[in-house]
Symmetry: C3
Subunit: 206 residues, 3 copies
């Protein structure tokens, strides 16, 4: 429980930082920036909770997530120059957040009696829909639909996590292993420019 809680706070913080960076890039004003920070940080978990019927959505049960996000905004600015130059570091944070949220989403869905397949979906939804909603609100095609393979990283981590639990591994250790796998796949994918294109029509034309 305690591990889940800490992961949740860290994931929320790094996603909020990522939302601020996106808002600045798109020249949003202060309000737009706050909204984008919130949507990126809690959008995936909110969609998961709404689909599961959790009432109210989890981050509204206390003020903690709100305060974490509000703190992330000035931090994002303080480190803005650094974030800009260190794009890879920024993507690392983003990747950690994705790994954490995948596991959190699975745990929540399992605890609400969902099947393993639905739980994997809820893990992926938690991890990627914050970014998807961020992109939709910014009037862009979600980045993840075109160039990213981190969804593949998410799904792999989710399946590994459920498999480890099946073999009675301790939850905390299974979590750490799965998050590390998600991060490793994503970083390797970025390093070697992996991608999973989907061009069967083009192929058939030849």
């Amino acid at each position: 429980m305690s591990t889940l809680f800490i992961l949740d706070i860290i994931g929320t913080f790094v996603f909020a930082v990522s939302g601020v960076a996106a808002a600045v890039e798109r020249k949003f004003d202060l309000f737009g920036t706050i909204i984008l920070a919130f949507v990126t940080a809690v959008g995936g978990g909110t969609l998961r909770d709404v689909l599961l019927g959790a009432k109210p959505v989890s981050w509204m049960n206390s003020d903690l997530h709100i305060l974490v996000i509000l703190c992330a905004i000035p931090v994002a600015f303080f480190f803005s120059k650094m974030l800009r130059k260190l794009r890879k570091t920024f993507l690392l944070f983003d990747t950690i957040g994705i790994g954490l949220f995948t596991i959190l989403g699975i745990e929540k869905a399992l605890s609400m009696g969902m099947s393993p397949i639905v739980s994997i979906m809820m893990g992926v939804v938690s991890a990627v829909f914050g970014g998807i909603i961020r992109d939709v609100l910014s009037n862009e095609v979600p980045f993840i639909f075109r160039k990213e393979i981190y969804a593949f990283a998410c799904v792999s981590g989710a399946i590994i996590y459920l498999t480890l639990l099946q073999f009675n591994m301790a939850v905390d250790i299974a979590m750490i292993i799965s998050v590390v796998v998600v991060i490793a796949i994503r970083l390797l994918a970025m390093r070697y420019a992996w991608s999973i294109p989907f061009v069967p029509y083009a192929n058939r034309k030849k």
Copy 2:
């Protein structure tokens, strides 16, 4: 009940196929394609369930819908060439899905104690919001807002369905009649290029 169930599965399948086609057209990668297949297939019903407060949303109660959608993806590719050439056949499938989902949405809303007007709205939401969310995620103005009259087909089918029930017609027969009406209106509309433009300002300018 059994009829409703079969309609639901067929509708889910044809909507997923329609989502795959849209994703391919937009050059999404595998993950984007899967998301678009899901969103198109279950987006309308999900929004309906979220608005009604069904917990969790209906397709998450079993793995069946997920499996139907995952099966629709390779099928959509297998028939991709055909789908491309037979655009009308494809629109026929889409239209069948719309008719089915309208009736399903009304039934669900009525069963949860909603008024006839709210139930008609929920029928239309079930039928059209999968496509609206698909278009929003693809960064496009929803097709249905500009050139389509299938919303009119939906609403007509919904009203006919409720009227037939009022006259104590058997649910199964009322359903079949209503779905056929929806399909007929849509096909006639496509054949004769019906549309309901809305240009009162332009008219007044003259």
Copy 3:
């Protein structure tokens, strides 16, 4: 209660008018116009209710809101020419709606046991997300993210409202004062072209 109810109906009406105006500007057909009227009028409150877990969302408990919105559509057309020329009057209606919905959202969240911070957020969500969803469905960057300070007006009104309640002011009077504050800030902002830009990166570049 009665005051809240009347505010709700007025707010719904003016937001629906604003949705019709947006739809006409974007050349949507009749169905697109109806959807945009609904989304603008009840979108913010719907998101608030979904996040809070209200079941079903409040406007679906009766046909009243639906009828108000359906009435607003012809009215919006009847006054369309006037609305176009009197852009400021139109913005005034919009501002009234925003003030009303902010207070309604806070009240709903407080009544469901949310913290003051969460309640302020729910007030702002009620007030601004109708317009945000309207813009997203129209494939535009939400207006409020770039050029508007009415979010600031909302937040100010929300904080004043909660402060007045803290000092045991009667709910009705606190409401009226807060709504007037929201309207005053927005109108002053428009008059003097206030804005809260957010360009720290640009500043640092110098």
